[in-house]
Amino acid sequence: MDAVTKITARTAVLPLDDIDTDQIIPARYLTTTVREGLGQHLFTDWRYNADGSEVADFILNQPESGGATILVAGRNFGCGSSREHAPWALLDYGFQVVISTEIADIFFHNSLKNGFIPVIVNDEIHRWLLDHPGVEVCVDIDTLALTIPEHEPIPFNIDRFARYCLLNGVDQLGFLREHNDAIDAYETRTR
């Protein structure tokens, strides 16, 4: 994973609550054996009609979403399946961050392991972001501050270990393997 320190970009807004990972990437695209190339199928059933034409009024198909790499989504984003293909698809499409009031557990942790940043904000900030699509936002992982127009910097939280890994591009498997002796000892003790 590459190190991630600070992301400054415009937002695209998907205001619906409970957007599940089947919407982010439908199961029929999970037959792949690699991580790459899933962005073309991101939100595919919302982006495209059955005949392959674009759904004109879907936000990601509108010109103002071009270059927006921060997604502002309704509450409980990423619920449902554990498929890591969901953050892979978001990253491959170009998104770097999702901001919501609540993000589902498995998706949240899968995201952090891939350098896709889940940011939880309170209802008031969330409402403001939903009402102001396309604003420029800065997500600073070093200072854990979210900067949005017309507001003082807003603190947000990322688990300290996950933050360390993001800032330093640390591979968590390497960290686990450093504890090989402890794992050996555990197995000896419990067998």
Partner: protein, 467 residues
């Protein structure tokens, strides 16, 4: 004084959690299937690592597999060269290369991963169990701590038999009373999700407890734990009891002889202490529960079959979008809505008792002419058991299709799908938009409600068919 969850967690901590780092948690059993593992095996190859404990890794193929008869993967590879087939071929190669026993096409032990773990006796009280699949929560029915993980974590567990975890909070779901006729475990869990919401369990591990749980069979407990994730909780658990031990005794991977006695003594220590504390609680009376059906596009959008479809609270865009997708209207009953497809299957409801429930209603009757009904047993073993009892003949005589085991129409990865715009009553776990095929409309229900709906051709209350 500790809860069941805390006891299992504490026993598996290799390195304790600090402010700086999560706990390193030891995993007793790793379940692996073809969809969420290929990239993890790729990683092992890249870094040159073996699988640390192949004997603690249970592998099968279930998501991408056809439910029409296929005797071997070689046959399938000849007849089709789809991405799904290539994924299955890759799974076989990965298991061969890394020394993992695969329950493949020719194995009598093949089936949905969450069905075969318990069936083989690999799912045991007090164990930590993970899988790259959110419905891993199923195994909590045995008093195991079981939860779904992502593919990166699948790689971690393959390589180290451990994963990095922060301890979740605990959530007691108290189930009181006893079930009425025609009401099932599926109706309990749908009622719980209706009450707590699809995010009520986020960041929590659930323990289902209370006066109702002792009477529940292992199969019923598995159905309830299976859908813990639909309420946002990664794990759901029941304390082990005599029902658990009777289920396990004599199974392939269950301990035997003196080992069994030792295990039993340990398992009996697992239930939550009387004064165990939970971070949150909710209580539901199961006595008053009725058959439940979903009307929207997540499992929390659920009503009693007796009730009309509710109205959105305020300007709820997701609610309005869901009703529009489902082609349903607030204030109208869901009962009586025409049904095109009935799916009896999935890791939620494809066990022998589920098939028996449905067959009991279908015996001597014919499903409606306009309905296609697909019956997909959860495993090869369930298929054999059902056929020995003549259930396949009942289903076929009623006009249903009797298939090979797999995940099938639950997520429509294998070609079994609901056509666009058609309405399916499904015993699976997710009614998300497009889950059963692009544009498919899903009503989640119990096997009894599914069978009743197949008979009438409309969403129907099964209690009308009970004596």
């Amino acid at each position: 004084m500790r809860s069941l969850f805390e006891k299992v967690w504490d026993q598996h901590v290799v390195v304790a959690e600090t402010d700086e780092t999560p706990a390193i948690l030891y995993i007793d059993l790793h379940l692996v299937h073809e969809v969420t593992s290929p990239q993890a095996f790729n990683l092992l190859r890249e870094v040159g690592l073996p699988v640390r404990r192949p004997e603690q890794t249970l592998a099968t193929m279930d998501h991408s597999t056809p439910t029409t008869p296929v005797s071997s993967l070689a046959d399938l590879a000849v007849v089709s060269d789809t991405p799904a087939t290539r994924q299955l071929v890759q799974m076989e190669k990965n298991c061969n290369d890394f020394g993992i026993k695969l329950r493949g096409f020719s194995s009598p032990e093949r089936g949905i991963v969450h069905i075969i773990g318990p069936e083989l006796g690999a799912t045991q009280p007090g164990r930590t169990i993970v899988c790259g699949d959110s419905h891993t929560s199923t195994h909590g029915a045995f008093g195991a701590l079981a939860f779904g993980i992502g593919t990166t974590e699948v790689g971690h567990v393959l390589a180290t038999q451990c994963m990095l975890q922060r301890r979740p909070k605990t959530f007691a779901v108290n189930l009181e009373g006893s079930l009425s006729a025609g009401v099932t475990a599926k109706d309990i869990v749908l009622s719980v999700i209706g009450k707590t919401g699809v995010d009520g369990g986020t960041a929590h591990a659930i323990e289902y407890r209370g006066s109702a749980v002792g009477a529940l069979s292992m199969e019923q407990r598995m159905t309830i734990c299976n859908m813990a994730i639909e309420g946002g909780a990664r794990a759901g658990m029941f304390a082990p009891d005599d029902t658990t031990y009777e289920y396990l005794a004599g199974r392939q991977y269950a301990p035997s002889g003196a080992d069994w006695d030792r295990a039993l003594a340990e398992w009996r220590q697992l239930p939550s202490d009387p004064d165990a504390r939970f971070d949150k609680q909710v209580t539901l009376d199961v006595t008053t529960m009725t058959p439940m059906v979903t009307f929207g596009t997540n499992p929390g959008m659920v009503i009693s079959i007796d009730d009309p479809i509710p109205s959105p609270a305020g300007n709820d865009k997701a609610f309005a979008k869901a009703l529009n997708y489902m082609q349903l209207e607030s204030g109208k009953p869901l009962s009586g809505t025409p049904v095109d497809v009935v799916f009896l299957g999935s890791c939620t409801n494809s066990r022998l008792s589920d098939l028996q429930d449905a067959a009991g209603l279908l015996d001597g009757r014919r499903i409606a002419a306009n309905v296609r009904m697909l019956v997909v047993p959860g495993s090869q073993q369930i298929k054999v058991d059902a056929e020995a009892r003549g259930l396949d003949e009942i289903f076929k005589a009623a006009g249903a299709e009797w298939r090979e085991p797999g995940c099938s129409m639950c997520l429509a990865m294998n070609g079994d799908s609901v056509p666009t715009g058609k309405l399916a009553v499904s015993t699976s776990n997710r009614n998300f938009e497009g889950r059963q095929g692009p544009g498919a409309r899903t009503v989640l229900a119990s096997p009894l409600t599914a069978a009743a709906s197949a008979l009438t051709g409309t969403v129907s209350d099964p209690r009308q068919f009970l004596d």
